[in-house]
């Protein structure tokens, strides 16, 4: 996918620029892009390392497990087909809790394990089950408490108040998650089974 996107952007940009006589601008762009990226990485290194350190403390203290446990009542409502104490439930809850904290490296393995467990429960192994569709939709629209990357980017570009968008982001992403869940419930009814 990125082969086409990245290659396409460069090829299209260079052809377009050469045709409109902007070869000097393109040269500047090529030189600046890399420089900006390195500058950004320096800002990010400080903010993200600090944040990852804090999150490691949370992880070691068992906060993922704690949040996952709190999610259980909601999970029963969202995944009525999955038995209450099934491993799939734990993996799904871990995935959502890790996503909430922005811990991508903990979220993905748990998510893939959840899919494996859901596949065990699935009758037709080539068609996604209800629970899988619901899980994927929630996983893809999941709520994140603080997206520290955006915070770092905003700081690098001299925002007066990099953190001002945190609560607005939470509101918007909650709305998208709720919309996803409602859509999934409606489709479940319509598609039957």
């Amino acid at each position: 996918m990125l082969n086409f996107i990245w290659g396409g952007m460069l090829i299209l940009g260079i052809i377009w620029g050469l045709c409109s006589g902007k070869s000097a601008e393109i040269t500047t762009s090529l030189l600046n892009g890399g420089k900006d990226a390195v500058n950004l990485a320096i800002t990010m290194a400080g903010i993200i390392s600090f944040w990852c350190g804090i999150m490691k403390i949370a992880e070691k203290g068992g906060i993922i497990k704690g949040i996952a446990k709190r999610l259980m009542p909601v999970m029963k409502f969202l995944f009525p087909q999955v038995p209450k104490n099934h491993k799939a439930m734990q993996y799904i809850a871990t995935n959502l809790a890790a996503n909430f904290l922005g811990l991508g490296w903990a979220a993905t393995p748990a998510g893939l394990m959840a899919m494996k467990e859901l596949q065990d429960l699935n009758k037709d192994k080539t068609i996604a089950s209800r629970a899988m569709c619901m899980f994927m939709i929630i996983n893809m629209s999941s709520v994140q408490l603080i997206s520290v990357n955006i915070f770092a980017y905003r700081a690098q570009y001299l925002s007066q108040n990099p953190s001002e968008i945190i609560l607005p982001s939470i509101i918007a992403t909650c709305a998208s998650t709720i919309a996803g869940i409602v859509a999934a419930l409606i489709y479940e009814r319509r598609f039957g089974k």
Binding site: M1, S20, L40, A58, A128, C133, S141, L167
Partner: protein, 177 residues
Amino acid sequence: MRWIIYISQMLMPLTVFSVVMYGFLQNVNIYAAFVEGAKEGLETVVGILPTLIGLMCAVEVLRGSGVLEALCRLIEPLISVTGFPVEAVPLALMKAVSSSGATGLLLDIYNIFGPDSFTGRVASVMMGSTETIFYTMSVYFMSVGIKKTRYTLKGALIANLVGIICAYGVVLWVFGR
């Protein structure tokens, strides 16, 4: 809507405070854990740097050559009625396909309009409320050999669309134009 901005500013310090406090109470070796995590974080940043360089160069070329401008002029008539910032449309489309590509476009918006502009704020919020649907779906479903994904894509697209609209609505409500 000052209170929303106020809570936003409180969230990060409060999270750090609660986590450190929680770590203390749970008898976690907090400093060692912090250093371990910070090292991982540093490695993450170094790891994404090549991607960042590649995509920021590509986006700068798109900007410098005038392609982005032409694209925005093309979609402007369709979108201007809604008041949605035109420059955020390429970002919204890119986000569904590639997260790093979207980061490149986001940084371009910050560079051109500034992170505190209306467009910059909508773009910031949108990055959090939308997701790289196609990539995530293929990774997860392929890992277990599912061929028919039924209504997953439709549901995720609806969630994304609501995320985009809400990003616009919330920024308009909290910050105004």
